[in-house]
Amino acid sequence: MSDPPLLDVRALATVLRTEDGPVPVVDGVSLSIRRGETLAVVGESGCGKSMLALSLLRLVDPPLAIAGGEVRLDGDDLLALPEARMRSVRGRRIAMVFQEPMTALNPVLTVGEQVDEVIVRHEKASRREARRRTVALFEEVGIPDPARRVDEYPHQLSGGLRQRVVLAIALACGPSLLIADEPTTALDVTIQAQVLDLLRRLQAEREMAVLLITHDLGVVAEVAHRVAVMYAGRIVEEAPVRTLFEAPAHPYTRALFRSMPSVERGRGRLEAIRGTVPAPADWPPGCRFHPRCGEARPECATDVPPLRPWAERAETRVACFARDAADAEAPR
């Protein structure tokens, strides 16, 4: 931990402003990513992970608003930058890949135009130069016959090719951080594997940091270095990927793993997490998971457990009173 992280997020909070007062959507999230590292943020739909990604880019529109915290990219406080300078961060230093390649591309522009545009904008390149680089990018992300493909419209491409175009757009200006929001969810499984391979290769070649947002633990195991588990707007556990899969600490993480089919456990009935994910307006006080938690303690309903290193695995940080209590009882 000697060199400063590329991205350092502290206590980031995004709220939905309603007539009944602000409702938290992202609630005091802190995380950091080093150069060339992949951090996966895992959670169910509605836990605020996509909102976290948009907040990093300051792309939240009213009635949503960033209520506090700090986002530092290479030392620059992004939340304090004027909008014009923030625009030159988006797409150049931080790029984003969206979930649906169907909808993330503009249907009325050719895919080439959409890549050219970013290069022209950020690098002040000429149209011809931009087109040359676009073709090279298409080649790099593995689009066959790139010189012809650049003039096609999104609907003429398959889902896998479209996602490659989306990647090419994101990579166009050589960002140091790539935010990928469910990059493979909309693809079928074989294409998914290809895109993940591509992502891993590009990351290694370009020494780019990746913030991968997903609900798919399989994808996490495949590409991530570290994992942050998010539940109801907060990070409940953060650990290196091996540690998390070997020894999940938070009751929520454990429940997630139990609800996944596995080869070792055989054909038994899968366990569902009881209850449902509450909507942001109904998030309970204290630990947000306590109403659904089998290990809940009295203080869980009133106090918010802080993220603390876990005694059993020093590299894991977990926000759970039950773990803290177990740590205190355990013989040192």
């Binding site: 988006r90 503009n106 249907p107 545009e117």
Partner: protein, 395 residues
């Protein structure tokens, strides 16, 4: 039900409607080539020449070509504009064909402008009623060469000796109270109707798209004010509003009608574009464009707006039909431009003189045009609506 609809109003009906509309456009452009009192080619021997005002010029001349841009022959700018198309389109095609190898578009522009300028600068004789004069000379035994268009009348030359005639071989649809050939007037009326539709609709589509995009993109206070304005204007019954506004104009011309239609028609377009904008702006590609650091103006106009225009195309096509209908209604009520040969004016003549053919012919034309435009618009709407496709295929 929808299957039935697909069979009845299939692509063939839409294709037929589109061809009728195209035919109307062709008629509008070709009108003077079909009906003109000025011969394409005229030769009057020196011996037959007289020097009086309005006499035929002696020697070879081309009265038709030189008259195309003559204010005396075509007082309305609408006609001269269509004549411009009539000259420029073939000239452009010719230029394109001549220089297919070397920069054809440049050659096309050169040939077109040369021909256009030549005709524009051409000197034309202040002659009317060519046919009668040619006949006179021939009766005197002179050898006169004259090549006329199929119909030898102009749309506005009165003939006091032949007023209110019923349909005959000379006048297929008869003549009106001033003795003008009704068929010719209806033919030139295509130009008026189409240009009313096009100009009025372009005007209100521009206003509507601009205001709708502003409201949808800026939201907040701008949005609230624009929506209020839409509500206020759409409170008035459109035809009444148009009538009141047009009644305020002292010397009405066809352009006043266009402008009044243009400034009253925009609310529907603005509402549509605004709604479309709100839905499109929340799509991923709009967010993605912002996430790439593109400035908001670029996101709005290059990314979001083009995606909002498909339904506007449908509304505009319906709007052309509507505008033609409103203009005919205004002309019929005496609120049109009496100086132009619009279908409504002919219809008004027919009602005033109680002549059946003067009522039926323009009425039928208006009906056919409006129906075909609406069919075309419906076809466009169905073609642009993916939901409908699924529904039709599904059931």
């Amino acid at each position: 039900m929808s299957d039935l609809r697909r069979r009845v109003v299939g692509d063939r009906v839409v294709a037929a409607a589109a061809s009728v509309v195209l035919l109307l456009v062709a008629l509008a452009i070709l009108a003077p080539a079909i009906a003109s009192e000025r011969p394409f080619l005229l030769h009057v021997p020196e011996a037959a020449g007289s020097t009086g005002f309005g006499a035929l010029p002696t020697g070879w001349s081309t009265p038709w070509g030189t008259g195309l841009f003559d204010v005396r022959a075509f007082p309305s700018i609408v006609d001269r504009a269509f004549n411009g198309l009539l000259v420029l389109l073939p000239a452009a095609v010719l230029g394109f064909a001549l220089a297919r190898r070397r920069r054809p578009s440049v050659a096309a522009v050169w040939v077109a402008s040369a021909v256009g300028l030549g005709l524009f600068a051409a000197h034309s004789e202040p002659v009317r009623r060519y046919e009668a004069k040619v006949e006179q000379l021939r009766a005197k035994g002179h050898e006169v060469t004259a090549v006329f268009a199929p119909i030898r009348y102009s749309m506005d030359a009165p003939d006091v000796l032949a007023t209110q005639q019923p349909p005959s071989a000379a006048h297929l649809l008869g003549t009106d109270t001033a003795g003008r050939d009704v068929l010719t007037r209806l033919l030139f009326g295509v130009r008026i109707s189409l240009s009313i539709g096009l100009v009025a609709v372009s005007l209100y589509v521009s206003i509507g798209v601009l205001l709708g995009a502003l409201a949808g993109a800026l939201r907040g206070r701008v949005d609230r004010w624009i929506v209020r304005a839409i509500e206020v204007v759409s409170c008035f019954p459109t035809f009444l509003l148009v009538m009141v506004l047009i009644a305020l104009v002292r010397e009405r011309s066809i352009f006043h009608v266009m402008v009044v239609l243009g400034v009253t028609g925009w609310p529907a377009v603005a509402r549509l574009v605004r709604a479309e904008f709100l839905s499109q702006a929340s799509r991923d590609y709009a967010l993605a464009a912002r996430a790439l650091g593109l400035p908001s103006a670029r996101v709005i106009f290059r990314h979001v707006l083009p995606n909002c225009l498909a339904p506007v195309l449908v509304v505009a096509t319906f709007g052309i039909a509507g505008a033609i209908l409103v203009e005919s209604g205004l002309a019929f009520l005496g609120l049109g431009d009496p100086g132009v040969a619009s279908w409504g004016q002919v219809l008004r003549e027919g009602r005033a003189t109680r002549q059946l053919h003067l009522i039926l012919a323009p009425g039928l034309l208006i009906f056919v045009t409006v129906t075909m435009m609406n069919l075309l618009a419906e076809g466009l709407r169905d073609a642009l609506d993916p939901k409908l496709h699924r529904e039709v295929r599904g059931t």
